[in-house]
């Protein structure tokens, strides 16, 4: 093994702001009722600017909310067992199971009762996400709306019929929100929120792109903490401010070779979601001089990239940067539909596209290895993994490893087995404990 001198490193200054953003968001959910706000529940990678068009409607992202349950394995197990007891099986989306369990058992990781929403909006982007709130509506009697998010196949060019379909659903969602809340939709807030949302997503993509640098300025575990604003509240101007400052800081780290891991010798890409109940997984490799530098999932969910036929990701331009001025609701809705339908993440629900994207990211982020999480609790992101793994090894000669677990269910995680596999893999890469 070649011994390199250590890079300099230092804590990320933006970390405190990220924690504060997260704490504020969850505190707002806890106090929503006493402040007389309506509470909505949405979904990750969502159209926050639409929800923000209703004054006094606070919405939360259930995936992020239940992840806060999952960092406490005991609490997570209680929730999951409550869902099990109602007959929900172990194999489907872990976030949904945790959310159902918290609802049935009246659990709130931030204190107080389960945050019963007044309304729920979901989107069908995988096999079951569109069905998320059917049992919730049946249990709580709340109104729900489902956006049927089309897969634009074949992937390019975007078909007008698909854009029309998505745009018409956004219009319906707005009308539905007005009807169930009894409040008028504010188009000005919607327009401003959309500029912010797109800017937030572009900034996140640009920050992810900066992690192509060697040494990596950020490690994946830290990135999960920084990711929060774009996936839960991207239309919030504070999210834009946060990522603007973060990008500057990351750029500074790149320019000055300030590493996330001083001993960086090996860069790894992670595929799919992390086991939230065992985030130490991401730190464990550091004693070998290895660092996780990102994942296709975290780059593209909440991040706005374009992808070319070689799998090269480049950040999109936000509408203001493109010189686009929205004049009315129709224009924004149409723009949003096209923006959303060209999200790279959803293009990976085609095996060849996922191979091309993963190969592009492995190459451009200078990864020495890829670790695939065969996630029993998210079969959407597990799509095509075995094919992708074989292709990465064959076409790039980059060694890969897989581990099977669940992003939410601690009962499905065999710690000693996974760690043994991980250490063997790292040794196979020529690394040893430093």
């Amino acid at each position: 093994m070649i011994l390199k001198p250590d890079y300099q490193t230092k804590p990320l200054e933006a970390w405190k702001a990220a924690k504060q953003f997260r704490a504020n968001h969850f505190q707002e959910i806890v106090t929503a009722r006493e402040k007389g706000k309506l509470l909505g529940v949405g979904m990750i990678d969502f159209w926050h600017s639409i929800m923000g068009g209703i004054d006094g409607l606070l919405y939360y992202t259930p995936e992020a909310w239940v992840s806060s349950i999952d960092i406490n394995p005991e609490l997570a197990t209680r929730c999951i067992e409550a869902a099990d007891a109602r007959g929900y099986g172990r194999d489907f989306c872990g976030y949904i199971r945790l959310y159902y369990g918290a609802m049935f058992a009246d659990i709130n990781p931030f204190g107080g009762p389960f945050p019963t929403p007044d309304l729920a909006v979901t989107q069908a982007f995988c096999s079951i996400s569109g069905k998320w709130y059917q049992p919730v509506a049946e249990h709580l009697g709340i109104p729900t709306f489902a956006i049927d998010r089309p897969l634009n196949l074949p992937w390019r060019p975007l078909k007008d019929s698909i854009v029309d379909y998505q745009a018409s659903q956004f219009h319906q969602l707005i009308e539905w929100l007005e009807k169930v809340t009894g409040r008028e939709f504010d188009d000005e807030k919607f327009i401003e929120g959309t500029y912010n949302m797109c800017r937030t997503q572009v900034l996140w993509a640009e920050i992810c792109q900066l992690n192509q640098a060697v040494p990596a300025p950020l490690d994946l575990k830290t990135m999960y903490g920084l990711w929060f604003p774009t996936i839960v509240d991207s239309a919030n101007p504070e999210a834009v401010s946060f990522y603007t400052a973060l990008k500057d800081e990351v750029q500074y780290r790149v320019d000055n070779q300030i590493a996330a891991l001083a001993t960086e010798r090996c860069r790894l890409l992670h595929d799919a979601q992390p086991p939230w109940h065992f985030l130490r997984f991401f730190r464990h490799i550091q004693s070998y001089g290895a660092v996780f530098i990102g994942s296709v999932h975290i780059f593209n969910m909440g991040g706005a990239f374009n992808r070319d036929e070689n799998g090269t990701l480049t950040p999109k331009k936000d509408p203001r940067a493109e010189g686009i001025t929205f004049k009315n609701r129709d224009e924004v809705v149409r723009f949003l539909a096209e923006w959303d339908l060209t999200n790279v993440l959803y293009e990976t629900w085609d095996v060849q596209n996922k191979i091309d994207t993963t190969i592009g990211v492995t190459r451009d982020w200078h990864a020495d290895g890829v670790i695939f999480h065969h996630d029993r609790a998210c079969q959407g992101l597990a799509f095509g993994q075995t094919e992708v793994k074989a292709a990465v090894q064959k076409r790039l000669g980059v060694p890969c490893m897989s581990y099977e677990s669940s992003n939410v269910d601690p009962r499905d995680f065999a710690e000693s087995h996974v760690i043994d596999s991980l250490e063997s893999y790292l040794e196979g890469l020529g690394l040893s404990r430093l």
């Binding site: 949904i96 069908a124 509506a137 049946e138 659903q169 079969q379 597990a382 095509g384 094919e387």
Partner: protein, 374 residues
């Protein structure tokens, strides 16, 4: 009864090969039931659904996860081992990611001259979904026409719609016969008729089915009345399991399966725009759980209605292992059936099933119903 149908199911590849040799026309495989076969039929193509083989395989592991639905793995396994080497094309209408991966991997590793993936809206209750599907159908038709080098005339579509509607009406008649007590035909026979319809030339299937139905016009005693059962689930094509249930004293009188009633329940209502007529038919029928996403949970009312119409005493919920769309629906289905006073038995199916274990569980379930134990 229905022996010819069972022969076709068992010898499905021989049937398709023989049809191809006899007619000189292409054979396409399709996955899931949201791909309008009428368009293929109008193009003089025989559509055959890729069903389960129920044979263990060891080839899919490098391509598709072991935690993906067993049916999808079985489908891919058959493609990779060349069981469908006579196909000229494969197609599918979007339902779930598991079958999509089977399709995608099949395209990559067992390429055929033609393949087409068609997206199908999940928001079946949204009025604009019809327009969206119409555009997808137009794209599919155009793609086929380009491959064939000729147009698919509207008249051919009219004929295909009529042929398929006739077949659907006949299959509905078969199911009607199961309302009597004892039912005039068994659940295994009904399943055989439905599965064979997915594999055969529809006109030939209809001729055979019509003859069988005429033979039944005087009525037939299906034997001693059994416990009237409903099967609920997805791609259940396991006739042996239905036979097992009926040997044990159950009478399978109705199902909500895409290999059963959901396949033919809805007819196409002709209209000037033939493809729009198809769009209505494919979106308005009893839905697959992936096509039932709105607040009004359509499957619940439909299943409840079937249970009443067929005087069901118990229901067996069959789930392909790791099939998450069905898994998320099952607790609600169990609840609404319980409200009807109908007990349920949940069984998880794999490519092969543990028949000894299932025998014990089904026996216990039937005894429980017979004894009136809740």
């Amino acid at each position: 009864m229905f022996e010819k149908f069972f022969e076709v199911i068992k010898g499905r590849h021989d049937y398709a090969r023989e049809w191809k040799a006899r007619t000189g026309r292409p054979v396409f495989g399709y996955m899931c039931t949201y791909l309008p076969e009428e368009i293929l039929y109008a193009a003089d193509i025989l559509p055959v659904r890729i069903l389960g083989s129920h044979e263990p395989q060891d080839v899919v592991e490098p391509h598709i996860h072991s935690m993906f639905c067993s049916f999808c793995r079985d489908v891919l396994g058959q493609g990779l081992t060349g069981k469908y080497d006579y196909l000229d094309g494969i197609t599918m209408g979007h339902t779930c990611l598991h079958i999509q991966q089977a399709f995608s991997s099949w395209q990559m590793h067992a390429p055929v001259p033609y393949s087409y993936y068609m997206w199908v809206p999940a928001g079946t209750q949204k009025p604009q979904a019809k327009d969206c599907l119409l555009a997808e159908l137009q794209g599919f038709r155009a793609s086929l026409e380009e491959w064939l080098g000729r147009a698919i005339p509207d008249e051919a579509l009219d004929n295909a719609i009529e042929v398929f509607n006739t077949n659907r009406r006949l299959l509905r008649q078969v199911y009607e016969l199961r309302k009597s007590d004892p039912p005039a035909i068994s659940g295994a026979e009904a399943m055989g008729a439905s599965l064979a319809s997915m594999l055969m030339d529809k006109e030939e299937h209809s001729r055979l089915l019509e003859a069988e139905l005429k033979g039944l016009s005087g009525g037939r005693n299906g034997g001693a009345p059994g416990v009237r059962l409903m099967l609920v689930g997805g791609q259940n094509d396991d006739i042996e399991f239905v036979r097992l249930v009926e040997e044990l004293g159950g009478s399978v009188v109705i199902d909500d399966h895409c290999t059963g009633s959901r396949y033919f329940w809805q007819e196409v209502v002709p209209q000037k725009d033939r493809l729009m007529a198809l769009a209505y038919r494919y979106l308005d029928g009893p839905p697959c759980p992936t096509k039932d996403i709105e607040g009004e949970h359509l499957r619940l009312g439909h299943i409840q209605g079937l249970a009443r119409d067929y005087n069901v005493q118990g229901a067996i919920l069959i789930q392909q292992k790791f099939c998450d769309p069905h898994e998320i629906d099952n607790p609600a289905i169990q609840r609404v059936l319980k409200e009807e006073g109908i007990p349920t038995l949940f069984l998880e199916f794999d490519i092969t099933i543990p028949s000894g274990q299932f025998r014990t569980r089904v026996e216990a379930f039937l005894e429980m119903i017979q004894m009136g134990i809740e």
